[in-house]
């Protein structure tokens, strides 16, 4: 057990925390972080290393062969097929992120600013959707958006349309709509954390000094909640890039995203190419996370 120096009553939490991670001499205790490192290695680094290894190996005749090759990466760049699908995936994910933020920010703002008793209940209702399977919810959306679905049937019964609306399902619109629905709770939780901590007296001060509501929002509220906005964006963007079943179920067959292609490679046991595609995406995601981290990391 580590000997911790006696802490005076009222000593700041930061000092207490610093003391608990050091031995009596003030040096860091290396083994204290071993469990965390072991978990990281087992759950993150090892699978990634295996994937990296496979991406430089050959898949032949339903077997992975330990022959070093760059062919899997060359295949990615050999034709426009994969870069184009990747670009399309990034672009669609960007749109999904933007739409999610546009929906989630005002919603969360309203909850934090104008509700008190019902705040937790409303947030709870948003989280409630996690209680059922994602696949089930995607199928439910198919029943809503499909040609024989609630919307089309309802509009036809009201005499507003003659035939089903062609863009409602099997379209990029459907992918963006359903993915926004899936990302919405993540974004709300991330934004709620930021908005709840906000110092609203600063907004009041801006108003008192004559700032318009829009100016106060842009110069006071938004900068203070930027970590939440960045967290929400990252969570949404990363989820959208890797989403597999939503584009397959409701998206257009002519605008497929990258995850179903990787899945197809894996199912056909093209592990090398599948791993190379996955690793390229992982690099992109990690770059995005690293860039976002600069904004999320609290500055002392």
């Amino acid at each position: 057990m580590t000997d911790t120096p006696n802490l005076r009553r009222g000593e700041p939490d930061e000092a207490r925390h610093r003391a608990s991670s050091r031995d009596g001499t003030g040096n860091p205790v290396p083994w204290a972080i071993l469990p965390s490192v072991a978990l990281q290695l087992a759950l993150f680094a090892a699978p990634l290393a295996i994937m990296l290894l496979y991406s430089f190996w050959t898949s032949r005749n339903y077997q992975i062969v330990a022959e070093w090759t760059l062919d899997n990466y060359k295949t990615f760049f050999a034709s426009w097929t994969y870069p184009w699908v990747l670009f399309r995936t990034l672009w669609t994910s960007f749109i999904i992120t933007a739409v999610t933020l546009l929906a989630a920010y005002p919603f969360t703002y309203f909850i934090v600013r104008y509700t008190s008793r019902w705040q937790k209940v409303l947030i709870g209702l948003v989280i409630l959707s996690f209680w059922t399977s994602g696949l089930l919810r995607a199928y439910a959306w198919m029943a809503i958006l499909g040609n024989g679905g609630i919307i089309n049937k309802g509009l036809q019964m009201l005499g507003l349309i003659d035939g089903p609306l062609p863009f409602l399902i099997y379209s990029t619109f459907a992918t963006v709509l359903v993915m926004t629905y899936f990302s919405f709770p993540f974004a709300v939780i991330a934004l709620y954390t930021s908005l709840e901590r906000m110092d609203w007296t600063l907004v009041q001060a801006a108003n008192d000094l004559g700032a318009s509501p829009a100016r106060a929002f842009l110069h006071v509220t938004l900068p203070q909640t930027m970590p939440g906005v960045i967290s929400a964006s990252v969570l949404t963007f990363v989820t959208a890039i890797g989403m597999f079943f939503v584009p397959l179920l409701v998206g257009s067959s002519s605008s497929i995203m990258i995850a179903p292609l990787i899945s197809n490679q894996m199912q056909a046991f093209q592990l090398g190419l599948g791993a190379a595609l996955s690793f390229i995406i992982a690099l992109i995601v990690m770059t995005i996370l690293a860039a976002a981290w600069r904004y999320v990391e609290p500055k002392h």
């Binding site: 898949s59 032949r60 005749n61 339903y62 077997q63 992975i64 295949t75 034709s79 097929t81 994969y82 184009w84 699908v85 198919m142 499909g146 040609n147 024989g148 089903p164 062609p166 099997y170 397959l248 179920l249 998206g251 257009s252 067959s253 002519s254 605008s255 497929i256 179903p260 292609l261 197809n264 490679q265 199912q267 056909a268 046991f269 093209q270 190419l273």
Partner: protein
């Protein structure tokens, strides 16, 4: 006085509970080992839980069903992780040959399974395509069906006679296309006049890929599984596609439009599925008993009533007719096993890597 649990008491209690749990599980293991078990890697459509329960009550053998997906994926998994944990595995068409070549299965002596020897149609138990060189069966046939064209009779007045109909611009957005590309390569090859759709060279595969891209452009989506495709047929989102004859009736009976089916003039492929015995299966005797059980007329009738398609088991078909299911039997060609002999069977592609890459390009195409 509130009850407090000392550390010693806590340790005693948890140790006793742990010992009881381990003892219980060991006792259970011994019981299962004594009674026997079968590890069955099979499509969910072949599994009747009541049948498994009845077999357990009757024999004391526990059947552990493990779900499987496509032929290629299952074959690859077994190659990677080994096949020793399974006793029985299922496959389609000529895939059992591939399993045999790779030393994964051993042929089945049909005489060791009395129900199969007695109840299977001769078209299946004597089919040379399903046999090893010494005359044993590589796979015990179960279901079968040709893949032909089905169409909405309300929307398409004249029966389509060729696969070319799937490329027809007048059906844009109305064509069914599934993700079972194993069944799509024969269509492209037939349209292009290639003899073997599973042995196309790179240049042929490129052309076949272009045909599939053209079909994809006529399809609103690539469906994942039969249920999704059936819903689209019922709500008349799609009018024409590849499927099996019985499914035309299934769509109509589920509230959909009147459907017809037509064998295309280019000929057709089909599948016969069934169970293979893994080489050196740890529970071989129990596995053979289970195969005997599922080939009883009762199990067969229950299964094919639930999931309709062609049936390799004559006694099972007769049981269905005795139940008054003639319409279902006829619609699914269950009483015409000779049709199975006209089908060419799906098989493992000779260059699977190129086929996988080509299918990916079909998916990625705009």
């Amino acid at each position: 006085m509130p009850y407090t649990l000392s550390r010693r008491d806590f340790l005693k209690t948890t140790t006793a509970a742990g010992a009881a749990m381990i003892g219980g599980s060991l006792a259970g293991t011994n019981y299962a080992a004594a009674a026997g078990e079968v590890n069955w890697l099979a499509w969910g459509g072949h599994v009747e839980s009541q049948g498994i329960d009845a077999f357990y009550r009757e024999s004391g053998i526990r059947v552990n069903h493990i779900g499987m997906s496509g032929n290629a994926e299952t074959f690859a998994k077994l190659k990677l992780s080994g096949a020793s944990q399974y006793d029985l595995v299922e496959a389609d068409g000529l895939w059992p040959r591939r399993y045999l070549e790779d030393g994964l299965i051993e042929p089945i002596d049909i005489d060791s399974i009395p129900n199969a020897a007695k109840n299977l149609y001769s078209q299946f138990k004597d089919n040379p395509a399903l046999k090893s060189s010494d005359g044993k069966l590589l796979m015990l046939p179960w279901g079968w069906n040709p893949t032909i064209l089905i169409y909405n009779k309300n929307r398409i007045a004249e029966a389509p006679t060729s696969y070319e109909a799937l490329l027809d611009p007048k059906y844009k957005g109305k064509v069914a296309m599934s993700d079972q590309h194993e069944m799509l390569w024969p269509v492209a090859a037939a349209i292009l006049g290639y003899d073997n759709p599973f042995a196309m060279n790179k240049a042929q595969l490129d052309k076949a890929k272009d045909v599939l891209i053209r079909i994809k452009r006529n399809a609103p989506t690539i469906t994942k599984g039969w249920n999704e495709q059936m819903r689209l047929f019922i709500e008349e989102t799609i009018w024409i596609g590849l499927s099996t004859p019985g499914r035309a009736l299934t769509i109509t009976e589920a509230g959909g439009p009147e459907m017809g089916w037509q064998a295309p003039k280019e000929g057709y492929y089909g599948w016969i599925d069934g169970d293979m015995l893994m080489k050196g299966a740890a529970n071989k005797e129990a596995a053979l008993k289970w195969l005997n059980h599922i080939h009883s007329p009762e199990y067969v009738a229950t299964n094919f009533k639930r999931l309709q398609r062609g049936c390799a088991n004559k006694a099972g078909v007769e049981a269905l007719i005795a139940e008054g299911k003639e319409k279902m039997v006829q619609a699914n060609l269950m009483d015409q096993p000779e049709i199975a002999l006209n089908m060419r069977l799906v098989e493992a592609p000779q260059n699977p890597d190129e086929y996988a890459a080509a299918w990916n390009e079909v998916l990625a195409a705009t």
